[in-house]
Symmetry: C2
Subunit: 439 residues, 2 copies
């Protein structure tokens, strides 16, 4: 590719796919466009749009899962609340890496964090008839907004870009004072920006959540990937940033997909604070005949959603969580590969005229992790994603992540070889030469 | 156990568990009562309440799943619409055993039929703003009623007991004429009674479904378990009874749990009629930006529910479906073991004064399969389940299956040895001696 693909080619493809523009296209439409352009040009694109693990699965997990299959667990319904070794090892893991104590009872496996979040939004919106709304701290993972939409749950959101540090508290309180917020959803480090809230911000969120009796749903899909500090030593600080240090009104969602590269088996865990797990909600009792939040999560919601999650994969994840807590599996060290890739790819973008959009966690530059966000001068959302595509670089628009900034999300997981980095460099250079006047 | 446990013991246990009576207890409360009584008496009860596979998993599946894990599928997100070998083998399997042709595109794996049904109820109620109600042909699987309840979807139901043969059509039409029925749910053979609708009844359902544009959700959890005919030969009649022979408005749900004794891995498949899969619904397009029923099922509903189902288990089920269609895995022969157990256990109940409630499919006695239903004279729901429990026999009340008859469901999967049958015989004899005056 020596010059960008003609704009008309992309416009024609989009109109054939019944899509308005690339910045608002569904993932399926984007993939169809990329496939068609790859066929047309005969070149493989730089795939920065895909948020999939780029590492092999942890062998500890594979071995444990095969051994469980040999014990014939595949014929036996899994307990919906999870097998004992998973619950016990997960509780140890949480204490080891988050520094928060929970009992095994409070840990529940789900079919990925996707199922975990779906059912937390559902249950969260039914705890109290006055509180039916979810507040999203954006930018975030678009699928979670889609969950609220499919379930018909009202939601509100704001872009954290302008509300960091001391501006966060008053903004949150504006919403909480309405009286209708059941839960807020936040993530550290987050998708799409690798933003990590500081301890002061987490304290603010936690204290206000307690004050207004709002539940904090904390998505830990990328936990321990803030490589600015060494989070790899079990049972030793520093620990993964978490609102659980500042309130009892938390539920954490963890996923084996990224931290153990185990996305294929769809295994996540939901970790309730013991206070919430055991809390009696009269409205739940009225609706479902049981009052406790934890009981309903398992016996009302997960039961009808799928009656539990893969029995053999529960053994895999139990083994990986246990080995990590024991210090025999250094999963953080394995993940540091994403940090290496991010440093290289960020340098390629900034050298070629782009800037990092969500660039700081208050006083510190953001960490190098799974994702980052870039803009190009004042180029708008639609033009930046389209022009990158014309240069053979596939990304995701920040519009779809509910950001108010103009730019794209870059995911580094699919790039690993020097050749891939060189090709990306050439394409970004071409972009910068061709479009510098539109900056 | 030489005489029934005192009624007071059971009343005390129930009051401690905050439960009204055994016929309305949740499964969890029942299990707690049984456990407590087993501890108290030091005897293991006859467990006729549990609907779990009582056979080892198909080895074809175990081997394929382990091989897939060795190929590292556990690190790779599964396609939400399913891996190609699963879709292809499932389409062949459906033609081989149901005698209905579908394309691989129309087959979608789910986290058990539970997830399949959950999302079919959800999507079914959103196809047309005028049609929001599900009609259940009961008695049926209580969890499916619970799904509608959790989702806030209106439902209606009737007990098929009095509406067989020529009475079925007019009854169905009463409901369909209301104009609000989106879908009906039915199952052959059904839980809890092993009732199998005749071809004439299925023709009636199919033709009315077409006439009133209602979707038939056909739960095939116990497919090929009507042992009154030999359904074991692929691509040869007789085929599994199915409404798909009489209408294009069908969606079948199949599950690996019972037919391949693979309940642990939570793997089901949903099989859309090609006409429905490709049908455009303007209301879906308005809500989700996509119009086709199949696209929305996969990309809107399953995406946010769990983003697909276990990658390695998809390979297991692909292998089992393929081997069954090839005729190298005679899964029907393996399942015939449940028929043997049912014949023995039915004889024990009838010899000791019980009668089969749902006893005929019009002109024929019902088949011997996974379940059957029994009553005892005019003894009411509450007394029959409680008195059986007092004699060491745990069952499930027909009340919970939305039946209007008084009696219990007996599941034969957990009984297999001569000793277990003898113990059950003694307990039923004790029941009949002790309670014959209450008949």
């Amino acid at each position: 590719m020596t010059q960008p693909i003609a704009q008309k080619e992309i416009d024609d493809l989009l109109s054939r796919l019944d899509a308005r523009d690339l910045s608002r296209a569904t993932i399926r439409q984007s993939v169809a466009v990329t496939n068609a352009l790859e066929q047309m040009t005969g070149e493989k694109f730089s795939h920065l749009e895909i948020g999939v693990p780029g590492l092999p699965p942890c062998q500890v997990g594979v071995d444990a899962q095969k051994a469980a299959l040999d014990r014939h667990v595949s014929s036996i319904y899994p307990p919906i609340g999870g097998i004992a070794p998973l619950k016990e090892n997960a509780a140890r893991f949480v204490e080891a890496f988050v520094g928060t104590k929970v009992t095994p009872e409070c840990v529940v496996p789900t079919v990925g964090s996707m199922q975990g979040c779906f059912n937390l939004l559902l249950e969260g919106s039914r705890l109290d008839p006055k509180k039916d709304t979810i507040l999203f701290l954006d930018p975030g993972f678009p699928a979670q907004h889609a969950q609220a939409n499919v379930l018909g749950i009202p939601s509100q959101s704001f872009d954290l870009y302008q509300y960091r540090a001391e501006k966060l508290g008053p903004k949150l309180e504006e919403y909480f004072k309405q009286g209708n917020i059941a839960a807020i959803l936040e993530s550290n480090p987050n998708d799409p920006a690798c933003v990590c809230r500081t301890d002061e911000e987490l304290r603010t969120i936690g204290e206000l959540a307690t004050k207004y009796d709002v539940i904090v749903l904390e998505d830990m899909a990328y936990m321990c990937m803030d490589f600015r500090q060494d989070l790899s030593h079990p049972f030793q600080p520093p620990y993964q940033a978490s609102v659980s240090h500042y309130t009892d009104n938390y539920v954490m969602m963890m996923s084996a997909s990224k931290i153990f590269s185990y996305a294929g088996e769809r295994l996540g865990i939901v970790v309730f604070s013991p206070a919430l797990f055991n809390r009696e909600y009269p409205h739940l009792r009225e609706l479902y005949g049981m009052g406790r939040m934890g009981d309903n999560y398992i016996l009302t919601f997960l039961y009808v959603a799928s009656s539990g999650t893969s029995h053999s994969a529960q053994h895999a994840v139990a083994a990986m969580l246990g080995a990590a807590a024991d210090g025999t599996l250094d999963f953080v060290d394995e993940l540091e590969e994403y940090g290496r890739r991010a440093r290289i790819v960020k340098e390629l973008f900034t050298r070629n005229g782009f800037h990092i959009i969500y660039d700081r966690d208050n006083d510190r530059p953001i960490g190098d992790g799974f994702f980052f966000t870039v803009g190009y001068g004042t180029m708008n959302n639609r033009d930046i994603i389209t022009n990158l595509m014309r240069c053979g670089v596939a990304t995701i628009s920040l519009l779809t992540a509910y950001s108010e900034q103009s730019g794209v999300r870059v995911c580094v997981s699919a790039l690993s070889t020097d050749e891939q980095f060189q090709v990306l460099d050439q394409r970004l250079k071409m972009f910068n030469e061709y479009f510098k006047d539109c900056k």
